[in-house]
Symmetry: C2
Subunit: 334 residues, 2 copies
């Protein structure tokens, strides 16, 4: 069933059928009805390829994320997909891993696929070394690029993010106000977001004129889900003499490892050790005790991102950067 068949059966030209399909006004009500009836009757839908050829668009947005099975990224992908669907867009998904070369390859694949726009989910797409971000600039020449949870100043690149700097600073200050003297910042990536959190942590330390001698930063090189690895790292660290009475984590799963560590080291939470996670994921309520965590309003961020995305595709103006603020959700580890 093609547009020719429809036009023939309705006794009009294919152009008229096209106009009806695309809501063009230059069609009389009578003709429109006649055409719609035939379309309905034969359950006709335009061929996507021919349509794409004509419009050079396939009504589809590319979603890139490092790992859609990561609890946090999975949520983000889900919210974005739902949002796009609501606006009538399809989602092409590509999980690129954390490797730069793979990211580049996936992105250029997306460009070739003629998606209308690409969304890079998660701060891992932005590297500290700015020369490694050239691939984003290049992509932005061909189509709009949206970043979730990263901040990048470039024409045709739009960012929606949480103020990780301030959230982490506030969380750290909060611990200080609650009599914590030796605070550890634990992170497992050198992505944009983790580094911003690190800066927030440092600022809090400086604000209270505590030196970094008594406060620490610890990098965990393992994978996100390696909770036992975090436990072991902390046990080892402690054996080396490093002491701490609170941990600010860049991620809930790290915090989950800290709780394991406390159990192994026979420390009581929150009496001997306070723990604050980040992302307010489901892990916060499956832990024992339940984990305090920074909620970065992921759903709101994603909905805003999609809204901006649609505005851009419609040729409307939208801000290049939108920042949400985080919020500490207090549970039983503080």
């Amino acid at each position: 069933m093609t547009i020719y068949d429809i036009s023939q059966k309705a006794g009009v030209s294919i152009a008229t059928v096209s106009r009806v399909l695309n809501g063009n006004t230059n069609v009389s009500e009578k003709t429109r009805k006649k055409v719609l009836d035939v379309i309905e009757k034969y359950d006709y839908a335009p061929n996507v390829f021919a349509r794409g050829l004509g419009l050079d668009s396939m009504n589809c947005v590319g979603i890139l994320c490092a790992d859609s099975s990561d609890i946090y990224l999975a949520k983000a992908v889900y919210y974005i997909e739902q949002g796009l669907r609501a606006y009538g867009y399809n989602s092409l998904l590509s999980c690129t891993g954390y490797d730069l070369e793979n990211r580049k390859k996936s992105l250029s694949m997306m460009l070739n696929q003629r998606v209308d726009c690409v969304i890079l989910v998660g701060s891992s797409y932005l590297e500290q070394d700015d020369s490694n971000n050239a691939y984003i600039r290049e992509a932005s020449v061909k189509m709009p690029v949206m970043l979730l949870n990263a901040d990048f100043d470039c024409e045709n690149v739009y960012c929606v993010l949480c103020d990780d700097f301030k959230s982490t600073m506030d969380a750290t200050l909060w611990l200080m106000e609650h009599k914590r003297k030796k605070i550890l910042y634990l992170y497992n990536s050198t992505s944009y977001s983790a580094i911003r959190k690190l800066s927030g942590f440092r600022s809090a330390i400086l604000m209270k004129e505590q030196t970094l001698d008594k406060n620490y930063e610890l990098y965990f090189p393992g994978s996100r889900d390696d909770i036992d690895g975090v436990r072991d790292l902390l046990l080892e660290t402690r054996k080396k003499g490093l002491e701490f009475d609170a941990v600010v984590c860049a991620d809930d799963s790290l915090a989950s490892g800290v709780i394991k560590y406390a159990k192994a080291a026979k420390l009581s939470i929150p009496k001997d050790l306070s723990v604050i996670g980040y992302n307010n994921s489901i892990l916060t309520i499956t832990c024992e005790p339940e984990l305090s965590s920074v909620d970065n309003h992921l759903q709101d961020q994603c909905e805003q991102l999609v809204k901006s995305c649609v505005q851009i595709l419609r040729g409307e103006e939208t801000p290049r950067k939108i920042i949400f603020s985080g919020e500490l959700i207090e549970r039983s580890t503080t």
Copy 2:
């Protein structure tokens, strides 16, 4: 840059360029090299729409799942996407929710998008009432349909699943052999998989000639992540006089709720209460105590699914049903 430009610059016809691009053998080595050089030089990639029009395929597989933010489904989607990518296919993602109408709509959207094949992830796509599965039969006429974790006998429908019946039966028998007398089966959906597990549970009970008087089945109507809801349901159930010394769960997050319940009811795990989860997800190691769970080899299943999918698309033969067996991973709740 089109195929015309390339053909002109290489001094050959567009047919020859097309042959080179598609690996057709009828091209002399000299010509092939000449064409490849030009393609390389101008970084040419065929227009996907025109290509799609010619081949009626866009080298893309549709992945449907109810909720890609669900821990279990997210893993499955991830493994499938990675597998498809490795074989050169793109993935169009659609999260349909659990509602039948929405599923139908999403599926017919996928068909119109001319994906090469659709993969329905999760047993929620198969309903007990077989008349509600007609939409799958209809889709299978137009393209291959693959089901993960559901069993459906129909031409052009291919299934990869875990033997949930046997796994649950084995888990239940295992509990009986370890002196559990009053076992509860807890489930939160009436999907194909949960019902198969229920049958497995019942069979185990019958095999040991225990009547169902002392063993129970309990349905939790809440959402998957509502862990506190599970706790409250069990507390209430207990108040009504129902007793149990072991719980077999259809899902790890339910098991997580059971652990919460045990804490609230001051029951010791595993002394007073054994708990077995299902899926062996990350929740098993963030729980305290760590959760015993049935591992259904999800990654293997997904890899097999993709392999079968690719075979079908290449026109090769592949079995219509492949069954994996589950395996009880013992941790600290049994």
